[in-house]
């Protein structure tokens, strides 16, 4: 009875706190400008199935893809066991599904256990890749400090979670074989779970019945506490990607990667210049919008969703020609900076009710001109991202601000602009010489 109350309180508090924080993230994302990504739902579902659910783009690098698949599959399938844990927790029952599901229950838990072992191997391998093998993309400068701690925290939490599963199942196996488990006795010798029927007796065979019950309970409570800690850690962590990857891929850019947006605000001005009969929309009372992006609020909600979905794997940076050749630009850092600044803006709103100018902005305080001008707009980062994040669109929008609002383009580019304006080519050649090649 008491345990049920504690359990229900835990679940309620854990869920409420998560929803509270998730709503803040949603609010932050919706600070972005509107962009239509709700068209063509059939195509979007297909891409989500292939890229998010099917992890298609991960397999460009087979080894980490396989390890990631272990964790991903275990994460998804374990949710089934969680349903039983919820019912058992609320009604003080024990393995309530077993009498109903019979041998299917054994198969199900056995499957979960095998995936858990694979996930354990994956987690150890990931820890090794980060901390021992020091895979280049996982030890770059932008990961120093919190991002590195964040990544390792998640992996350690994963290990604890898996240990809890095997404490719970292993001790229960031993208890059941002694006829002492709280699970309903179905007149069989053991649960027959694939891993814990072997591992249980080895680890816990010599323990007293009392100790076994304690170990089983530590595993059970540890498991559910870890699940809810994990859930509530997500909004503070890069690991939010486990939830946001799906909507983020659904709202992917469906246009060819080479197609950049045409700024409508600019079109109106240009049309007004070219066509005297063009009547611009009546001036609104709102402040005129900026050309391009200086601040996170100048970006679209999709670009902000991208930032929250990024798990900092660094495939973008690893494929970036500028980064490969030692330039300051790192597409991953562009995403991390966007999220960090957005979080800062969000906290500012929490504190002040509305955003109060803090004298900072994404451009300048987080992302520098030097980073932005190193980009070749080659789309390698966009192609490399397993969940279709688009760092290039942010880089482009910030270049637009630099050029059109600050007039701070590099000198050579200003020369190029002048040439296009005056003679219709980026170099100083006369338009009247355009056909000379045909007679040379």
């Amino acid at each position: 009875m008491i345990s049920s109350i504690i359990f229900i309180l835990l679940i309620s508090a854990g869920s409420t706190w998560f929803i509270f924080n998730a709503k803040k993230v949603r609010r932050n994302i919706l600070l972005g400008k509107d962009v239509d990504r709700k068209d063509n739902s059939a195509m979007r579902l297909k891409i989500m199935t292939l890229v998010a659910l099917g992890q298609k783009k991960m397999f460009a690098r087979p080894m980490p893809a396989l390890l990631h698949l272990f964790l991903y599959a275990a994460f998804v399938i374990t949710q089934i066991e969680l349903i039983e844990i919820f019912i058992d927790g609320a009604f003080a029952s024990h393995r309530i599904f077993r009498p109903f599901l019979g041998s299917f229950y054994t198969i199900l838990i056995s499957f979960i256990e095998i995936l858990s072992v694979l996930a354990f191997i994956g987690t150890i391998a990931f820890l090794a890749r980060r901390n021992l093998l020091k895979v280049p993309r996982l030890v770059k400068n932008e990961l120093n400090g919190w991002p590195k701690i964040d990544a390792n925290t998640i992996l350690f939490a994963e290990i604890i979670l898996i240990c809890c599963i095997f404490m719970m199942n292993g001790a229960d196996e031993v208890l059941y074989s002694k006829g002492k488990s709280h699970a309903l006795n179905l007149n069989d010798a053991s649960f027959g779970f694939s891993i814990s029927s072997l591992l249980g007796p080895i680890l816990f065979g010599g323990f007293s019945e009392n100790s076994l019950h304690i170990i089983e309970r530590i595993g059970w409570w540890g498991h559910i506490i870890m699940v809810f800690s994990f859930l509530n850690y997500l909004p503070y962590s890069k690991h939010f990607h486990v939830l946001l990857a799906f909507p983020n891929v659904y709202f992917s850019n469906l246009n060819p990667a080479g197609k950049f947006t045409n700024l409508e605000s600019v079109s109106n001005e240009v049309k007004a210049m070219f066509d005297p009969s063009f009547i611009p929309a009546p001036a609104s009372t709102e402040l005129p919008t900026r050309f391009g992006a200086k601040e996170v609020t100048d970006l679209s909600w999709k670009q902000l969703l991208d930032a929250y979905s990024c798990t900092e794997c660094g495939r973008c940076t690893d494929s970036c020609p500028a980064n490969i050749t030692g330039k300051l630009l790192s597409p991953r850092k562009i995403m991390m900076d966007t999220r960090d600044r957005l979080e800062e803006v969000g906290k500012n709103i929490d504190t002040n009710g509305t955003f109060k100018d803090d004298g900072k902005s994404l451009l300048g305080n987080y992302i520098t001109h030097e980073e932005l001008w190193a980009c070749t707009s080659c789309n390698a980062c966009v192609d490399a991202c397993p969940i279709n994040i688009d760092p290039l669109s942010i880089i482009t929008d910030m270049r637009r601000f630099i050029v059109m609002e600050e007039s701070a383009a590099p000198t050579e580019l200003n020369g190029m602009f002048t040439n296009i304006e005056n003679n219709g080519a980026p170099w100083q050649f006369s338009q009247s010489d355009r056909l000379n090649w045909s007679t040379e």
């Binding site: 990667a257 950049f260 020609p321 050749t325």
Partner: protein, 262 residues
């Protein structure tokens, strides 16, 4: 050598005729000495295949692509307005470009600003001409030569065109070798995003050196390209390694023109 037959849209209009296709030459193709050779190779192929094509000549102006990639959306859209009024004035339906940057922006970014055309890259046109039998690739000028193709970003990743240049080159009977980073994983030459028109930011290597090094590791006879800017970058890279005597950087159009002794 036959003289090039090049007519402008104005010429056709004066005659009351309509060409099959407009050849958008582009700024590099019009003014850069190296790229002009590519332009001529494309024209030779078009002449050889009896394609009735036109150029805009002195009515052509920059598409605005370099301005757009640099963030100057105003200048880009001003260029679009000017170009669209000329293209629409001539009732242009189909365009072939000699440059993936012109190709990308005309194809993708012009429609919502009033310019709707079928736009193809010159490697796609060559593929069409080969498939329809309007050109054949004769002779074995490149038989047994090792050729590696460097994917232009705005043709490959930008527009998912990977096969057209390769399918055209298959006809050369050459040994087509792929770099480790090719197709969707291809490494940029370093010229895109308006980098062509500015010094690179501070780093420890030039991007074109990194890319040329990768190509040269295959010991190719020819590095094939499909973009005048990639051509410049890779040619400079080859010179950097003092390999210009043994390794040529050639556009796919030049390979085809040469194979046909055009």
């Amino acid at each position: 050598m036959e003289a090039l037959k090049v007519y402008t849209m104005a010429d056709y209009t004066a005659k009351g005729e309509t060409p099959e296709i407009l050849f958008w030459v582009g700024c590099a193709g019009s003014f850069d000495d190296r790229a002009k050779k590519i332009t001529k190779a494309i024209v030779k192929i078009l002449n050889h295949a009896n394609v009735k094509f036109a150029v805009l000549g002195t009515e052509e102006s920059c598409t605005g692509d370099p301005a757009k990639r640099a963030g100057n959306e105003f200048l880009f859209q001003m260029q679009v307005m000017g170009n669209v009024s000329i293209l629409n004035g001539y009732n242009v339906k189909k365009i072939v470009t000699g440059c993936p940057h012109c190709f990308n922006t005309l194809k993708n970014e012009y429609p919502s600003l009033g310019g709707n055309y079928e736009v193809i890259h010159h490697t796609q046109l060559m593929q069409e001409l080969l498939n329809s039998g309007r050109i054949k690739i004769e002779g074995g000028a490149f038989k047994g030569k090792k050729i590696t193709f460097h994917d232009p970003c705005y043709l490959g990743r930008g527009n998912d065109v990977y096969e057209a240049p390769r399918e055209v080159m298959i006809n050369l009977d050459a040994d087509l070798a792929e770099m480790k980073r090719s197709k969707a994983k291809g490494l940029c030459c370093g010229a895109g995003g308006s980098q062509m028109f500015k010094e690179a930011e501070k780093g420890n290597k030039e991007i074109n050196i990194e890319r040329t090094e990768e190509a040269l590791a295959l010991n190719p006879d020819i590095i094939a390209v499909g973009c005048p800017f990639c051509n410049t970058m890779m040619t400079d890279g080859v010179k950097h390694f003092n390999k210009e005597e043994t390794v040529k950087v050639l556009d796919v159009a030049e390979l085809i023109a040469h194979a046909n002794k055009l």
